[in-house]
Structure formats: structure tokens, C-alpha cells
């Protein structure tokens, strides 16, 4: 099982996530697609860590998971705040930064 398989799989997952971000309009699903892209990056990091026999890539993947958790927390907080203010949950409707 060469590492190429894993890296190609991670590219496929990344492309699916990017397509999801472009296609869907609901901010919740867009956050989910961002998770897909971050996880694809994680898979590539772990695969290269295996290819070089060096565990530092796994530490990198762990830090990516931390950053993803932060992004989720802030993003979901924004979604709840948007829902509370009765804004429609559609990214196309939210074009101005003025609250």
C-alpha cells in the first residue's frame, strides 16, 4: 500500500469539501464542508508522516484538529447569533458586515 493512495484519497476528499462550500448555501453545511477539507489535510499529513517515518507530522495533524475545534466553536456561535437576530441562514443574503 503506497502512500500515493492515501494522498490521492485526501485530494478527492478535499475536492468534495471545496465543492460543498461552493454549492451549499446553509452556513451550517458550509462549516461541515470546511471540516471535510481540514480532515483531508490531516489525512495527507498523517500519510506523509508514515512515508518519512517521522511522527512530527502527527503532531501537526493534532494541532490542525485543535484549530478545527476552535473554528467550529466560533462558527457555531455565529450561527446561533444569526438565528437569534432573525437573520435568514443563507450565506448569499449576508453581504454586509454591518449588524
Amino acid at each position: 500500500m503506497t502512500v500515493t493512495w492515501y494522498v490521492v484519497l485526501s485530494a478527492v476528499l478535499f475536492a468534495i469539501g471545496a465543492g460543498g462550500v461552493l454549492i451549499r448555501r446553509s452556513p451550517l453545511v458550509i462549516l461541515l464542508c470546511l471540516e471535510l477539507m481540514l480532515n483531508a489535510g490531516n489525512l495527507a499529513l498523517v500519510a506523509f508522516s508514515r512515508a518519512h517515518g517521522n511522527a512530527e507530522g502527527q503532531v501537526f495533524a493534532l494541532i490542525v484538529m485543535v484549530v478545527a475545534a476552535c473554528e467550529v466553536v466560533v462558527g457555531l456561535g455565529l450561527i446561533v447569533a444569526m438565528y437569534r437576530r432573525r437573520l435568514t441562514l443563507n450565506v448569499d443574503d449576508m453581504r454586509s458586515l454591518k449588524g
Binding site: V3, A15, N39, I63
Partner: protein, 180 residues
């Protein structure tokens, strides 16, 4: 045997990912993402990353997905309008994603990296165990570790600030109907 495990994980991961963007209801998208994450954890195990796989299951598929499920249930199903801000976006967006995939595939398959075409070196025992990751985090990457903890703290405070009910604003009726 390893091929069977890899392809089972790959099919689970790709199927879960496609289900995430294909489901109309965000709630089902979240459940599909759980499948994707569990399949990915299996792939991490194949790559000798036991600790990452365990953290993926416990932190991601466990804690983070519970957060998503709560928010999806709180917000409810969002209907996505058929109106397109850019004409032809429904066809353009998948084509852009496909172009990205082709580009990445060309970069990967045409790379000059020698390690990518091998299965990797024979690993020493204890590779990817919590023991090794802990030594790396606390000896070599201590600053990164502390920065990550600061980042988590800032994100938690930010989320509380964002989602907290502001008293000054003219709060809509919805907040009174559903006390969180």
C-alpha cells in the same frame, strides 16, 4: 488484507463526504460527517497513527459532532432557495471542484518526491503511540502546545461572547419563545 481495510475506509470516507453535501437536511449531513470521521479514523490506524485515530473518535466524532447536532436541532432545517446569485452557479461550482481535483491529482502523480511511491520505511515499535506523541508535544513542541491551549481559550471566550444574549439590543421574540 490491508487493501480490503484501505478500500473499506476509503469508500466510507468518500461516501460520507458526498452524503454531507448531498443531504438536504443539515441534521443528516452531520450524521454523514460522523460516518466520514469514523472511516477516516480507521485509515489513520492503517497509517500507524493510533493516538490521532483515538483523538479523532473521541474529540471529533464525539464532542464536536454533539455540538453540531445541538446547533442543527436548535436552528432547524433551513430551506435553500433555488435563486442563484451567479447565473449557472449550480453547474459552475461542481466544475470548479473537479478542476481542483484534476490539478491536485496532476501535482500528486507527477511529483518528484521519492518517498511517495513507497510504503514508507519500517517503523520502530511505539510509533504514533500516546507515549511518543506526548514526548514530542512536551519536549520538542512545547510552545506550539501552549499556543494551542491559548487558542482554545480565546475561541471559547469568543463563542460565549458571540452567542450570549445581548440585553441592550432589541431582542427578537424568538429568543423569548425558546429560552436556551
Amino acid at each position: 488484507m490491508i487493501y480490503v481495510a484501505f478500500f473499506a475506509g476509503a469508500i466510507g470516507a468518500v461516501g460520507g463526504a458526498i452524503a454531507v453535501i448531498a443531504m438536504r437536511n443539515p441534521f443528516y449531513s452531520v450524521l454523514a460527517l460522523v460516518i466520514h470521521l469514523v472511516a477516516l479514523a480507521g485509515l489513520f490506524l492503517l497509517l500507524y497513527a493510533q493516538f490521532i485515530a483515538a483523538a479523532q473518535i473521541v474529540v471529533y466524532a464525539g464532542a464536536v459532532m454533539v455540538l453540531y447536532v445541538f446547533v442543527a436541532a436548535y436552528v432547524g432545517a433551513v430551506e435553500e432557495p433555488l435563486w442563484e446569485p451567479i447565473p449557472g452557479q449550480r453547474f459552475l461550482a461542481p466544475m470548479l471542484a473537479a478542476a481542483l481535483l484534476v490539478e491536485l491529482a496532476i501535482a500528486i502523480l507527477g511529483t518528484g518526491l521519492s518517498a511517495i511511491d513507497s510504503g514508507g520505511p519500517t517503523l520502530p515499535g511505539g510509533f504514533g503511540t500516546p507515549n511518543q506523541i506526548g514526548h514530542l508535544l512536551l519536549e520538542q513542541f512545547l510552545v506550539v502546545f501552549e499556543a494551542a491551549s491559548m487558542l482554545l481559550l480565546v475561541a471559547a471566550v469568543g463563542a460565549v461572547t458571540l452567542a450570549a444574549r445581548s440585553r441592550k439590543r432589541d431582542e427578537p421574540d424568538r429568543a423569548r419563545e425558546t429560552p436556551a
